[in-house]
């Protein structure tokens, strides 16, 4: 039987929704027992949130001062110490999981499967390669532990309402001190998080300046949407990089995605392929974004966007 250990992602107070998405993926492995490990300095509230996720059998808490910040170098040896008896160890393919899971895999002496998008069997999965231009079916060896990251845009978060057992899992592991957290500067905003928002409005280079992005923010606020941007807009310095949507930024799957002044480079389309409905507003009717848009509108964004904001 498959036994899956999922490494929870959190910011110290809230569980990241990526965790419940990884649970959804793990639940597709037939008959799997799913445990979630919460590494934190204080795990109480986080563990309660993890125990609420459907399909989770058990939440393991590993409370240590060193786990205040989730650094791969300090987490990996603890995950390895906890891994005994598990057939699978999963994390999200967010920057947290991408940083941590290969370190775990290497310590366990196995290759890792990156970005699971489909579960075909306990050791058989599909994953995107070549910036999503090809889908590769891979098969891990049945006698080896499967260490993998899960492409969060491919799964919706598992529902709540569960009451999994919570138990402390003290680990006697020496941790390295060679890697130290200094600080995190976040472009803190009150808007919904780009990666988990149901609606996202993105602006491209056609906006022309960071000031012009105001009309994007206004539309997003009217819709209660997260705000994203194309790589061109980020490179032009209109908005910070954490807003970038695409293969080199964030891969997202909102119910509604509105692309404004974005031509639709392949690398951008890769980041929005799984969106429910894509709306494109662009003055160039030949823009590739219209090839994937469910609803397209050709015209001047500087008049259309304010008009749309008023109409909603």
């Amino acid at each position: 039987m498959s036994k899956v250990l999922i490494i929870a992602e959190h910011d110290g107070s809230e569980l990241n929704p990526s965790t419940a998405k990884v649970v959804s993926c793990a639940a597709e492995i037939e008959g799997a027992q799913i445990d979630v490990a919460v590494f934190a300095s204080t795990a109480g509230e986080l563990a309660a949130q993890a125990a609420d996720i459907q399909s989770v059998a058990q939440v393991l808490t590993i409370e240590r001062e060193e786990n205040e910040h989730l650094l791969a170098a300090t987490l990996a040896p603890q995950v390895v110490a906890l891994s005994d008896g598990y057939s699978h160890i999963f994390g999200p393919s967010t920057t947290f999981g991408k940083d941590l899971m290969p370190r775990v895999a290497a310590l366990l002496g196995v290759n890792q499967i990156s970005d699971i998008m489909t579960v075909l069997g306990s050791h058989s999965f599909k994953r995107p390669v070549y910036a999503g231009n090809a889908v590769l079916t891979v098969e891990a060896q049945a006698d080896q532990v499967v260490v993998a990251t899960v492409r969060t845009a491919s799964y919706s978060a598992a529902a709540g309402g569960n009451t999994a057992t919570i138990s402390a899992a003290p680990l006697a592991v020496d941790l390295p001190t060679h890697t130290r957290f200094i600080d995190l500067q976040s472009g803190a905003s009150d808007r919904p998080d780009l990666q988990t928002a149901n609606r996202v409005v993105s602006g491209g280079r056609a906006l022309g300046s960071s000031e012009s992005f105001d009309i994007i923010y206004k539309l997003a606020d009217k819709l209660g949407a997260g705000v994203g941007a194309s790589r061109a807009a980020v490179d032009a310095g209109y908005v910070p990089n954490e807003m970038q949507v695409g293969q080199t930024g964030k891969i997202i799957a909102p119910d509604l995605y509105i692309a404004i002044g974005i031509s639709g480079a392949i690398q951008h389309l890769t980041g929005i392929k799984d969106a429910g409905t894509i709306v494109a507003i662009n003055k160039d009717e030949e823009a590739p974004i219209f090839e994937v848009a469910d609803i397209g509108l050709v015209g001047d964004l500087f008049s259309i966007v304010p008009e749309l904001t008023d109409a909603l």
Binding site: L71, A72, A73, T95, K98, D99, M101, P102, R103, A105, A106, L107, G109, V110, N111, Q112, S114, P128, V129, Y130, A131, G132, N133, A134, V135, L136, T137, V138, A140, Q141, P176, H178, T179, R180, F181, I182, D183, L184, S186, G187, R199, P240, E242, K250, L256, I266, K273, I278, V279, F290, E291, A293, D294, I295, G296, L297, V298, E307, L308, A311
Partner: protein, 249 residues
């Protein structure tokens, strides 16, 4: 520091529209332009800048593959690397095998810093740097957008989902780089001529005695599911109506 090791992977050029072969055995590479993985180019640029600031003495570029990868190594030498090593391997290595090859080279070369691209744009694995750091038992700083060296440590700003995280790592360390770290230099013709005289050692992979680890078998490739073209509306009223129709507003 004495030495920085940089990995250069030969990949399908990022401007090429990749197509899956009809038999599903891989993607078309016949007659396709091959280049240095763009993230690796950024890694090399950073290593060269560190050297030019006088903070390192030598930059060594490394590639693993067939003799055709010499092309990418020569480009790296033309950019300014001092020396190149081609680890010759007929088989395509997975990230763990690559990390073990790099570990063997780190030991041989006594490198104090390894700078790598955060991922290669073919396999999109994003694993190798982290794996090297793990088996070397050294720090890793992934997705770097700023690197400041001071004595025996480095302060690295990392592009994470929540914003910019800064970590301090002791050296030796592995740093993997993201797009915004720098803009790689263009290679000039005289540099290409000069690069022909720089040393490029070819090392059969068997000499390193590396175990590639348990394989993850590639079963088949397929093109991604495509989205279909939708409807066009004429004005904002039409857009609002279409959104209402889909129950989105």
């Amino acid at each position: 520091m004495e030495k920085i090791l940089v990995g250069l992977k030969r990949v399908v050029d990022y401007n090429v529209r990749v197509r899956v072969k009809s038999d599903g055995s891989g993607v078309e590479t016949d007659g396709v332009k091959m280049s240095i993985n763009p993230f690796d180019e950024i890694a090399l640029e950073e290593a060269l800048r560190i050297k030019e600031r006088g903070e390192a003495n030598e930059v060594v570029v490394v590639s693993i593959g067939g003799s055709e990868a010499q092309q990418q190594l020569r480009t790296g030498l033309a950019m300014g690397a001092d020396r190149a090593i081609l680890v010759e391997s007929g088989d395509l290595l997975e990230p763990l095998g690559v990390a073990r090859v790099f570990k063997a080279l780190v030991d041989r070369e006594q490198a104090e810093l390894v700078i790598l691209g955060k991922q290669a744009i073919d396999g999109d694995n994003n694993q190798m740097g982290q794996m090297l750091a793990a088996i070397w038992d050294r720090p890793q700083a992934t997705f770097a957008s700023k690197i400041e060296l001071s004595g025996n440590s480095a302060k690295v700003t990392r592009e994470v989902d929540a914003g910019l995280e800064t970590n301090e790592v002791d050296l030796p360390a592995v740093i993997t780089v993201d797009l915004r770290l720098n803009e790689p230099r263009y290679v000039k013709l005289p540099d290409i001529m000069k690069a022909k005289k720089k040393p490029l050692d070819v090392l059969p992979i068997a000499d390193l005695g590396v175990d590639a680890g348990p394989a993850i078998r590639e079963v088949s490739y397929e093109p991604p599911a495509s989205r279909e073209r939708g409807i066009m509306v004429d004005d904002v009223a039409g857009l609002v109506a279409a959104l209402k129709d889909k129950g989105l507003i």
